[in-house]
Symmetry: C2
Amino acid sequence: MADKKVEAITSMEEDFAQWYTDTVVKADLTGYTSVKGFMVLKPAGYAIWELIQKQLDERFKATGVENVYLPMLIPEGLLQKEKDHVEGFAPEVAWVTHGGLNELQEKLCVRPTSETLFCDFYQKDITSYRDLPKVYNQWCSVVRWEKETRPFLRSREFLWQEGHTAHATEEEAQERTIQMLNVYADFCEEVLAIPVVKGQKTEKEKFAGAVATYTIEALMHDGKALQSGTSHNFGDGFAKAFGVQFTDKDNQLKYVHQTSWGVTTRLIGAIIMVHGDDNGLKLPPRVAPVQVMIVPIQQKKEGVLEKAEELCERLSAISRVKVDATDKSPGFKFAECEMRGVPLRVEIGPRDIENNQCVVVRRDTGEKMTVSIDELENKVVELLETIQKDMLETARAHRDSHTYTAVTWDEFKDTIENRPGFIKAMWCGETECEENIKAETGASTRCMPFEQESLSDVCVCCGKPAKKMVYFGRAY
Amino acid sequence: MADKKVEAITSMEEDFAQWYTDTVVKADLTGYTSVKGFMVLKPAGYAIWELIQKQLDERFKATGVENVYLPMLIPEGLLQKEKDHVEGFAPEVAWVTHGGLNELQEKLCVRPTSETLFCDFYQKDITSYRDLPKVYNQWCSVVRWEKETRPFLRSREFLWQEGHTAHATEEEAQERTIQMLNVYADFCEEVLAIPVVKGQKTEKEKFAGAVATYTIEALMHDGKALQSGTSHNFGDGFAKAFGVQFTDKDNQLKYVHQTSWGVTTRLIGAIIMVHGDDNGLKLPPRVAPVQVMIVPIQQKKEGVLEKAEELCERLSAISRVKVDATDKSPGFKFAECEMRGVPLRVEIGPRDIENNQCVVVRRDTGEKMTVSIDELENKVVELLETIQKDMLETARAHRDSHTYTAVTWDEFKDTIENRPGFIKAMWCGETECEENIKAETGASTRCMPFEQESLSDVCVCCGKPAKKMVYFGRAY
């Protein structure tokens, strides 16, 4: 039974994309409806998002963020006010043309992102320096009419948060932009156990309408990169397009400086692809909806289920814990726990009860331990912390051992073909050269990392003087 | 200053509708954008919704509810599968006709409610009795193309939760329908301090596609009723329309029985209209984003702000507390606290510090107390509990003293004209008679309460034999 269930997943080595799809389905994270390109987040998937949301929201609020909710529909005229922005988004929005039984005078798009709505709102809500800063965020879903879709990575609707701030000065906006990037990076490392590279996007890769876009980039198990969160500094461009002005302390009318920043359900895709293995999902304890699954052995024997429930009751004070009392075989339950990424499994049977012990198994390493029942709470607390820490270290080791440097163009091409991962290389700063690199190798500029190194004096591709060290990689 | 701010609200007696609008604006709950019929939930408004969401979600989960997320768009063909349902909703939905640059082959409506999507999903996800029950809920926004809108009470988009369940038997579905109605009723009383009447909707008032609709009805300060939550039993009607079948333990193929239940941001409108007064909002402590506001007196004097911050630090362990250290006058700050409904105000000035005391003021009664600083935590905990309890009792007393009985038609007409409130009266059970009552008096049937009384043998309007005692009332 156990083997059969596991057998149903394609191995990572054989076909990583298929392994991903199999894992999403077998771990019961998403489901299908008749709405093409849209997905259902099932309980096991949505619960991960709830844990992300809760812990990220706490970190936001600790920096002074307040939550709001703005309309889901944007009038065409509003979307068009900022030139770069509308060019970036118009080709991929869904349009509402009829409301009730009537055709609308002005069509409305389902928000693909809400910069324009926040500007419209701020224009009405901000008059004085006393109204600043505005540090608002909303949790919602957005729609982008993608042609090809994959669960969590690309779908026509996804859940996210979008922060939108307005400040009196350029410096304050820039500070907030970097502050939120750091919140994301710390969150990814400390909660999702995913190490990231922080840096700035190139001109070509920056957000439609931004002065500067910053990103956190993570490396998946297959060596491809995933942009995992972005933070944008808009300068006063949107403020000028929307007339968002305030009277400053010196009585002068000035434009505000704005930022926006967001992460999405893509993070769940990152969790799957950074930590998963051929047995399925591996969830870091801090985002595991079930952290401990208790599996009774010979559960029909007197006292076994009762003991399992008693342990569950005790462990519920310190963890998210469940008993699997279904009529499946223990082997099947083990495989299902592994598939769903439950960090710890506790096995308890008649002989264990006799010896006042149970068996504890780590999902991340497979390590099995015999633990005295008297010590169980302490051991579980300790193990959940250890697993969280070890998963980050494992992911970091993988990321580091798959980060290469290329000084010559031949090295670059050889690395991208044969050693999937990040490539650090020098770049001249020209968009044309960046496009050539992408066209020839499929590698895009992931970011200009904050931690710059000097690998050589010249661009890895064109040989002109180098301006920046860049992380390159093929990406999702 | 203080008076000026308060002056700006129309008094309830003068014009309740205008008082409501003024309060919503002055308490800074909502804002405007250029999207007609849609509102912005500003931080003070959204924070109330977050507290509702958190506490209701805990109650849901305690009954076994799991959260999911389904698409926001519904293909036209799916909406049309259940005849009554499409008739009820088609006239008020927004239609997406274009995705990206192309016209869609099939138009999609923005969900006005998600019965059809859940059925489509359940049809694919349920095959055996082992898959039952499904007790799923989602938190999201929905769109209904209303002609006239009012903040929280009626807008083209609103936030809500919608629970959708599937069961093996009729009995289990009915049990869940009533269970969730009770969750809502208890939540309203215990958290929102709003007493409700529980009952069943008449045939005329039930939900499009339901076998039976149950409701909780609350009475606003002006004597008008507000439907505050509903729970529907669908029987197997939707299951038959969508082919949601399962193989039961006896190996027979059967249709599932379904329910749905929801509450919305309307609850915030109820809080405003049940508890508010001529000084603005009055928030029950359990849904007050700020429970205690500390107002420093003569804050420029040495040590005052420091002491205020020290008290804030101490109180933050047991409450949601803030210091108002802005440069407004204390009088203005007091009025603002009242306007925003903060349950407790703590005043601390140089003389208070000297005497190791502070002044504590209740928002609900206006009562002022001098409290020793050593006793402050205990006193605040006690007062917040007392306020929560007293606000419920005050609302209950108002509801009870505005609940009338009418045995004759003259009594009914006289009451509805001269004494706004609930009217309990006997009814024949005929839709035609119900429509007459509405047409002649503006009073609709709110519900057939679970607690039935026999007031007379005949219908209050037509004189035919009475079948049910009904709560009538003019309603929002």
